[in-house]
């Protein structure tokens, strides 16, 4: 196959395959006539009805708020803790046992405890739960990012008398930022999952709650609409983060490209 033919075929496939899958879904659900698997068209109609915009404020906003707040806390804490730990060997020796333990602990095992300990099933518990588990990818990546900085950058700054605090702000942080963003991407997808888990477990609002209620009341179309929404939320949030990363780290791409030559 010649180059141009191949490329057009590839693009055609990229469009055709997803469409084919959706079409197949529609056809299969129509034929199967199974209430558990509504037609794609039904789901889409239900999706529009619920989320645009009648139940948007009621459920989507609380869920997004929890994700947003939990993620923000995780980012701030992750960087605040990660930078000193990345710079201090002793800090790491003392902290790593704890980091490894909480990182290996399956989050759902702490759901009942988080409710008991924080005495709530409201936003306080949810945001804390999300923030706690989203902390670790960012923390670990910040530590790795700081440790991986070329010492020449630091030595140059030192030789010019740049003081410690300013070195951290102007050298360490920008240099570690690419790695920190990698951690942020992991954390963001984790935040969506944690949100679903904690809302499903105990909540009175939110998309996860809708998931639970619609299952309990055997409303299949809303249930599917909730599943699709969760997927869409994850995709959109990830996209936003990638766009932010592209802006903030534009220098990084240029630098890497120049180095590769």
């Amino acid at each position: 196959m010649s180059g141009r033919t191949y490329r057009s075929a590839a693009i055609a496939a990229e469009i055709a395959v997803p469409l084919a899958i959706l079409a197949a879904w529609q056809v299969w659900t129509v034929n199967a006539n199974d209430p558990l698997f509504p037609r794609l068209s039904t789901i889409l109609v239900q999706f529009r009805e619920m989320w645009l915009f009648s139940q948007f404020e009621l459920h989507v906003v609380p869920s997004l708020t929890r994700i947003g707040a939990g993620f923000a806390v995780a980012v701030v804490l992750g960087i605040l803790l990660g930078v000193p730990l990345g710079l201090s060997r002793w800090g790491r020796l003392l902290a790593m046992p704890h980091v490894e333990w909480w990182r290996a602990m399956p989050p759902p095992a702490l759901l009942p405890i988080s409710v008991a300990l924080l005495h709530s099933i409201g936003n306080r518990q949810k945001i804390s739960f999300i923030a706690f588990f989203c902390l670790f990818p960012i923390l670990l990546n910040t530590i790795d990012g700081v440790r991986g900085i070329d010492p020449t950058f630091i030595e140059t700054a030192r030789s010019y008398g740049v003081r410690r605090l300013e070195r951290i702000g102007r050298i360490v942080l920008p240099a570690a930022l690419p790695q920190i963003f990698a951690g942020m991407r992991t954390s963001l997808s984790l935040a969506v999952i944690m949100m679903v888990l904690t809302e499903y477990f105990s909540s009175t609002s939110g998309v996860g709650y809708v998931l639970l209620i619609s299952k309990n009341t055997f409303q299949l179309a809303p249930m599917w609409a909730a599943i699709v929404l969760i997927g869409v939320l994850g995709y959109v949030l990830n996209l936003l983060l990638i766009l932010l990363e592209r802006r903030v780290l534009s220098w990084h791409r240029g630098w890497r490209a120049a180095e590769a030559q």
């Binding site: 395959v17 290996a104 602990m105 009942p112 008991a116 969506v192 997927g231």
Partner: protein
């Protein structure tokens, strides 16, 4: 004497620091609960929790639940591996197939498996099958993505060398691309092993499928907070064990990788 190879202090420092750090945490826990800063009902004392764990470990039920969770995890991870690795190799080695399926993968990947729990309730029901399905679905994606990356990330010089020696396509695959992909697959396994455990436990917790998660759910509904904490500890140890094993595997695979071997030579 003390100058021998790196110094005793530097070698022991990590273990000592770790021990001190963990001990400090346990003491703090005990102090906080004893001082009554948080009520006994919400935060059992450290000693109480460990005692509870110890006595649980003497019961048959605990170990049965433990084994069930491990079983769900193992089947989930195993099934995910059997599905993801071959598919990943296929999608990674054929650029056309990789491009064609890129969009569906990008859309399905972020769907939290947890969102499928209601669906599983109504289809496969509260059985082991649901647990395995959930664990497999979750563990599948990281492994698939890592395998694809691994097959793609092969050193082009190695491929060109093989081609110039007349090595055929299939042989190039298993002689050059696969060995190159092994570290990535090992990383994928480490990630997936954690995901599989999370989902197996989640299925038990939310759907009442027998296992540690279900035991915790029952304990919580009876207000047996000490048991809940003890079970969390047990689950944590299970998670830690899995993590230790699979990251050791990953490190081995990374060391074995051709690029690392050359670097070491």
């Amino acid at each position: 004497m003390s100058a021998a190879g790196g110094g005793i202090v530097t070698r022991l420092a990590p273990s000592v620091a770790a021990a001190v750090s963990i001990a400090a945490f346990l003491v703090l826990w005990q102090a906080v609960s004893k001082a009554g800063l948080i009520s006994d009902q919400d935060l059992p004392a450290m000693t109480t929790t460990f005692r509870e764990l110890w006595s649980m470990m003497h019961t048959h039920q605990f170990w049965a639940a433990f084994a069930r969770t491990v079983r769900g995890w193992a089947f989930g991870l195993g099934l995910a591996t059997v599905l993801a690795v071959p598919l990943g190799i296929l999608l990674g080695s054929s650029e056309f197939a990789g491009r064609a399926f890129r969009v569906p993968i990008e859309f399905l990947r972020p769907i939290p498996s947890a969102a499928l729990i209601p669906l599983l309730f109504l289809t496969l029901g509260t059985t082991l099958k649901s647990e395995i399905f959930l664990a497999t679905f979750g563990a599948f994606w990281p492994l698939l993505v890592q395998t694809i990356y691994g097959v793609r990330d092969v050193d082009p010089i190695a491929i060109d060398t093989a081609r110039s020696f007349g090595v055929g396509r299939l042989e190039r695959l298993y002689r050059v691309k696969l060995p190159s992909a092994v570290p990535y697959i090992a990383t994928g396994l480490r990630i997936s092993s954690a995901v599989a455990l999370i989902l197996a436990f989640t299925a038990e917790l939310f759907m009442g499928i027998p296992g540690l998660g279900q035991t915790m759910n029952v304990a919580e509904s009876f207000g047996l907070t000490a048991q809940v904490y003890a079970l969390a500890l047990a689950t944590g140890f299970l998670g830690l064990g899995i993590y230790v094993v699979f990251s050791a595997l990953e490190r081995r695979a990374l060391r074995w990788h051709p690029s690392q071997r050359l670097a070491g030579a």
